[in-house]
């Protein structure tokens, strides 16, 4: 354990790449052949707000077809709600379009649906794969990663399970979305490369035991996949509602490892509360950093090792939003029951928008962002980018600045700025912005 989040350099394995090479499928078992024919390449065209204007860029990943009606499982960082065009290349090299039907960045999983009308019209065929039980895997077991690394046509690589439950502190993907809070990862030495993202990790009988997600930059054969038992649950939820609603109480847990003596605890008892977000349900209910969480709704908690923490957080996440959770806390020598009402888990990444006439792209300050940065309210947008030579650039605005008000109206929602931009588009005239850089406020003018 160790307090603050260390910084890992991890690459998410989606890739901008073009080109294709033919290869023939190896057949081992019937199951494996079917699996091979269910693996697809996914080409995505998506909106990008980074550069001060709404742009489109492309990326490539992998995916696996799960059902005869064309449901595909892939990574959330391969296909996101920013995707405007998703093209799937089937194992027979035919292209067909697909749509995003569900997305969960917390587990880095996304669900697509192939355009079945098109499939019928063109008489296309494909097979589908089934999940195996990732809970039965053992270190040393042979597994295969299947995908389209660097856009190469379906490629199989072989390795073993290196670790069945690798833990990472929660972190953020390239777009700033949180990931990895609720699951541990399968680790494999099967070669996985950029473009493998979203492809399956399978056993010899062709059962999907993981979804390949990422690897370390500069390392050899350190690949990570989301276990199928996590994926199964996520897929079921995404099919129902397109997203997963989770509960949170706003605590940052820590492993108790080596601190049992200090807290006078028996081994394998309790989880450390490292931090409590201000204004969160736990904070409002009186939970404090340094408390030991002994029980959740009177069920014992064991957070001795970091690997055990995702399961505990997932227990909280699965509760209905707004439900009462009894946290049994040890504080000093006292043991107390604290009732906490859960709230919905949200990302710190707010809504994004582009304002062409100003050459400005922004992201709304979310409730979570405001809390994480100690801001007293949620007003304002964070500047993602400015286009050189456009009014925002000329006014001295740069990425990372916070715009808190426009024409003296606080930016309580993206609508405020959308409205001002619409007015400017109709009748371009000087527009007053209040801009914060490193806690210093400037008033600047966007002018035609």
């Amino acid at each position: 354990m160790g307090g603050f989040l260390p910084f890992y350099i991890i690459v998410f394995l989606a890739l901008l790449w073009l080109g294709s090479v033919k290869s023939s499928a190896a057949s081992m078992s019937r199951g494996f052949t079917e699996l091979l024919n269910s693996v697809v390449r996914i080409d995505v065209r998506q909106v990008n707000y980074e550069g001060g204007s709404k742009r489109f860029d492309g990326s490539i990943g992998s995916g696996v077809i799960l059902t005869p009606d064309g449901l595909i499982l892939t990574n959330a960082h391969v296909v996101s709600p920013k995707a405007v065009e998703v093209t799937v290349t089937l194992s027979n090299l035919e292209n067909v379009s697909a749509k995003l039907v569900g997305w969960d960045h917390w587990t880095d999983l996304a669900l697509l649906k192939i355009d079945m009308d098109e499939v019928k019209r063109r008489n296309l065929t494909f097979t589908h794969a089934g999940f195996g039980n990732s809970g039965k895997l053992f270190a040393g077991q042979t597994v295969y990663a299947v995908g389209t690394p660097f856009g190469l046509t379906r490629t199989v690589t072989r390795g073993i399970v290196s670790n069945i439950s690798q833990y990472f502190d929660a972190e953020r993907n390239e777009d700033g979305y949180e990931t990895g809070l609720f699951n541990t990862w399968l680790q494999t030495d099967a070669a996985i490369n950029p473009g493998n993202s979203g492809g399956p990790l399978v056993t010899e009988d062709g059962k999907v035991v993981g979804i390949t997600t990422r690897g370390y930059t500069g390392a050899n054969n350190l690949g990570f996949a989301i276990p199928s038992n996590t994926a199964k649950e996520v897929v079921a939820e995404l099919l129902k509602s397109g997203s997963i609603i989770r509960s949170t109480v706003g605590i940052v847990p820590g492993a108790l490892q080596d601190l049992e003596d200090f807290y006078a605890l028996a081994l394998n008892t309790g989880m450390l509360v490292n931090s409590v977000y201000p204004q969160s349900p736990a904070s409002l209910a009186g939970v404090k950093a340094g408390d030991i969480l002994l029980e959740l709704n009177h069920n014992k908690v064991d957070g001795r090792f970091p690997e055990q923490i995702p399961t505990i957080l997932n227990t909280i996440a699965k509760l209905p939003v707004g439900s009462q959770l009894t946290m049994t806390i040890k504080r000093g020598t006292k043991i107390i029951d604290i009732p906490v009402f859960t709230e919905v888990l949200e990302s710190s990444v707010g809504e994004e928008g582009a304002f062409d006439k100003w050459g400005l792209t922004v992201r709304k300050i979310s409730r979570v962002y405001a809390r994480e940065h100690g801001r007293s309210d949620q007003n304002g947008v964070i500047v993602l980018g400015v286009q050189p030579g456009f009014p925002a650039d000329s006014a001295g605005i740069s990425s990372g600045d916070i715009i808190s008000a426009i024409n003296r109206i606080p930016i309580s929602s993206l609508e405020v700025i959308v409205h001002a931009h619409a007015n400017y588009t109709l009748k371009p005239e000087a527009t007053l912005l209040e801009v914060e850089k490193d806690r210093h406020v400037s008033f600047v003018i966007l002018k035609p």
Partner: protein, 465 residues
């Protein structure tokens, strides 16, 4: 023929002029170098010592010296400054001096030399023009003193130039064509009257290209030994009496308006303030005089004591102007601010307070075996962390020794320790007594800290054995 005569006449005039100067300048020089000294001192941190050198000017017969603001880092606790020594130009041996503190308004540091040394010095006031202070104007000749470094016994040398521009920054500042004195050293008129003090350098940056790496980018250099900017004598002479009464320069007038920013000219025009300067208040600090008087974040200050803020070039000089209008006062004085709030003009009467304890004034204690220095949590710490200033608990880590026990536990500088061994530490004394106990108990295996960093906290286990 006529042409030749004219040229001859002109050359003779030039010769006469330079002869007149060279006859008197060395004599003036000999007397005036008695008004300058070099000062060096040691800044002592947990494990290191740094020697710094500065140049100053003698202001009275008691041997009081003023050093420019940049001579001493304002963030350093004066208790960490040691062994002040003063050197007369050309002398290898210094004599002990005492640091008296900094005046917040002028920024000057005051130092006092020994009586024996003072008897050889001549105050700068001796060179004040009898008819009042001379003003440096465009094209005026000016000369000043530079001092070499310690290895060269601070040998004085002559610098001279002509004035190319005079600007309000916001003080009247004359800019010479070339370097005219070392920063903090005096500049004189051709008659030898005191004309001002050299400030830090102005637009004197040089690009140095590498001699070996031909493709490499040049390095920007700034001349810190000589300056062409002169704070004119009318800005200096009335301020010579501002000797601080204590080493921390207390009392310090305090407003509590944070992050003053000059208003952009386009925005000023938009808000109907095109003919003057304005200053945006980024935040109003909790419990400050500004807050008590009703000042709000994003208020735009347009006048102080009913005087509209003048225009400066560059615009940002106006924030200095406002700050100096506060610092010239004493706590308890009332200053009136006119602010623009939305479309309203609001008058605010602020009774200035005394600046809360600064970080440099915070108590601190070093624990060598544990490997850290903690200091008192002060007002500025609460501001920095966006927490209420009314709750001053815990201590701040101001130093972490590398490879020490606390370093191994992941503690970092600027972390805020809130609990030690599971018990809240409310005061500095409480924290240091707990840490002292851990430091001296050689049988102890570990202690546990609850530490806040950013908006998160963490429990850190410090292994001692």
């Amino acid at each position: 023929m006529k042409f030749k005569i004219w040229i001859g006449f002109f050359l003779t005039c030039l010769a006469l002029k330079s002869v007149a100067l060279s006859a008197s300048l060395p004599a003036m020089w000999e007397e005036r170098i008695k008004s300058v000294v070099a000062v060096d001192y040691i800044t002592e941190t947990e494990e290191e010592r740094h020697v710094s050198t500065a140049y100053g000017v003698v202001i009275d017969t008691e041997g009081t010296i003023i050093l420019p603001s940049a001579a001493i880092d304002v963030r350093v606790d004066p208790k960490r400054l040691h062994r002040f020594k003063a050197y007369s130009p050309g002398e290898a041996v210094g004599s002990d001096a005492t640091y008296l503190g900094q005046d917040s308004y002028t920024g000057w540091h005051f130092v006092k030399v020994s009586k024996a040394m003072a008897s050889h010095l001549v105050p700068i006031t001796k060179w004040i023009a009898p008819s009042g202070t001379p003003t440096l104007g465009l094209a005026d000749f000016a000369w000043g003193i530079g001092l070499r470094n310690k290895e060269e016994d601070f040998i004085p040398y002559l610098l001279q130039s002509h004035i190319s521009i005079v600007e309000s920054l916001p003080q009247q500042t004359a800019i010479a064509q070339q370097e005219v004195a070392g920063p903090g050293l005096p500049v004189f008129t051709k008659e030898g009257y005191f004309a001002g003090l050299a400030a830090s350098s102005f637009a004197q940056t040089y690009l140095e290209f590498s001699k070996t790496d031909h493709a490499g980018a040049p390095v920007m250099l700034v001349d810190v030994e000589e300056s062409s900017a002169i704070l004119v004598s009318s800005e200096v002479i009335p301020m010579l009496g501002r000797r601080p009464s204590n080493v921390n320069g207390r009392p310090l007038a305090w407003l509590g308006a944070y992050g003053l920013q000059s208003l952009d000219r386009e925005a000023a025009t938009f808000l109907g303030q095109a003919n003057q300067s304005s200053v945006v208040v980024s935040e109003v600090l909790e419990d400050s005089p500004a807050e008590k008087a009703g000042m709000k974040a994003h208020d735009i200050i347009i006048a102080v004591d009913s005087i509209a803020l003048p225009r400066f070039r560059p615009d940002r000089v106006v924030t200095d102007f406002v700050e100096r209008n506060v610092l010239i006062h004493k706590p308890g004085d009332v200053v009136q601010f006119t602010v623009l709030r939305g479309s309203n003009r609001v008058e605010l009467k602020v009774t200035l307070g005394d600046e809360p304890k600064l970080i440099r004034e915070a108590e601190r204690k070093y624990f060598d075996r544990l490997g850290l220095t903690v200091r008192e949590f002060v007002y500025a710490d609460a501001v920095q962390r966006r927490t209420s200033v009314k709750v001053h608990t815990g201590v701040v880590v101001s130093y972490v020794k590398s490879n020490s026990p606390v370093d191994g536990a992941g503690l970092a500088e600027n972390d805020w320790i809130k609990e030690i061994d599971g018990m809240p530490v409310d005061t500095f004394t409480e924290a240091t007594s707990k840490l002292s106990a851990a430091e001296s108990d050689t049988h102890r295996k570990e202690f546990v800290l609850l530490v806040s960093r950013g908006t998160q906290t963490a429990v850190l286990r410090v292994k001692l054995r």
